[in-house]
């Protein structure tokens, strides 16, 4: 079917464009990345970009949306498969580290989006992404709450603990990327984070 092939080619082009844009946005941020840069990197003419997307912002948000969605569904799939609170925490950490090990470029964009800095007065679309990220934090909080009610965890406020864990992970990823992912994979740090979060640093 001809329509099908066209559609496929369209999707491929779209993906190529987004990948090029991702690299640039990650490297230079939203504002210092120009449409001309993107066009050159993706080997399209500027006009072609506007045939695929309404605006620079739409490119950015589509990109963020797709990646965030992919990320969240991975994490949610893995945590829901794990049985027991500790295992769910482990699955969360493992999946997050694994995802960003393979999406290093995207990490900076993710952090910027988290801190809400990049597109400050958010569009309705940007808002949806933001809400998704917040909802995901609630999900982590629920895992912790469950663990508290089964007696696995002590009674630390779940939201606070969820934010703390999230911060620990982000910081670790950041550190790893900063050091040019030195020896060992990021994934391998799952154990350290898990241990730190579960039992702390103090000698018992």
């Amino acid at each position: 079917m001809k329509v099908s092939r066209k559609t496929r080619e369209g999707l491929t082009r779209r993906r190529e464009l987004l990948t090029a844009a991702e690299a640039l946005f990650a490297k230079n941020g939203f504002f210092k990345t120009t449409m001309a840069d993107i066009a050159e990197e993706a080997e399209f003419a500027i006009g072609t970009l506007y045939q695929m997307f309404r605006s620079k912002e739409e490119i950015y948000l589509s990109l963020v949306n797709e990646k965030v969605t992919a990320y969240l569904s991975k994490v949610e799939a893995e945590t829901s498969m794990a049985i027991g609170s500790e295992a769910k925490i482990e699955a969360l950490i493992r999946t997050k580290l694994n995802f960003f090990e393979h999406n290093r470029n995207f990490f900076r964009i993710y952090v910027a989006e988290w801190s809400g800095f990049e597109l400050a007065p958010k569009s309705a679309f940007g808002d949806r992404i933001w809400k998704k990220l917040l909802a995901h934090l609630d999900l982590i909080a629920e895992i912790i709450e469950k663990g508290t009610s089964t007696g696995e965890f002590k009674g630390i406020a779940p939201k606070e603990a969820a934010f703390a864990l999230n911060g620990m992970m982000n910081s670790t990823i950041f550190h790893w990327i900063l050091g040019n992912h030195p020896r060992g994979s990021l994934l391998a740090k799952t154990e350290v984070i898990k241990e730190l979060f579960l039992t702390g640093i103090e000698k018992s």
Copy 2:
């Protein structure tokens, strides 16, 4: 002495300008803040800004530099006064939370600077700030290392633990600001963070 009064007034003006700029940069980010905005907010003419600072970037970096320096010296003073690793950790958390409780606006700028996003291809000056932040992380790592060598802490890689702790704190501050600093002060969260970092979430 007249020179002295002039100098004093000059400093006051400078501070007023930086405070106005801080609020705007925190709210809209570096790029979406215009010189006209700053001039209006600070109640100066645009030309006057250029008499005090060479450029918009210089305003931003001066601001960041002063605040970061003030922040770091507070933390370093407090941690060096505390005796024992656990007390130092406590002092670190307390001082950081206290600082950002009183510098809410600045937090967003601090985070942006940390993530290295705002002024991506850093100037030499921006680089110095960045190095200071990194050096401070080393100092935290040293505290942890010391605690390990005295047997207070178990042997978790100090750098990793330092980054994790830093991430926990940032995340907590972020959460607090996000929720419009609801009930209770941010400072009051010192205990939670300390407990989480030292002994983890698991019931022992």
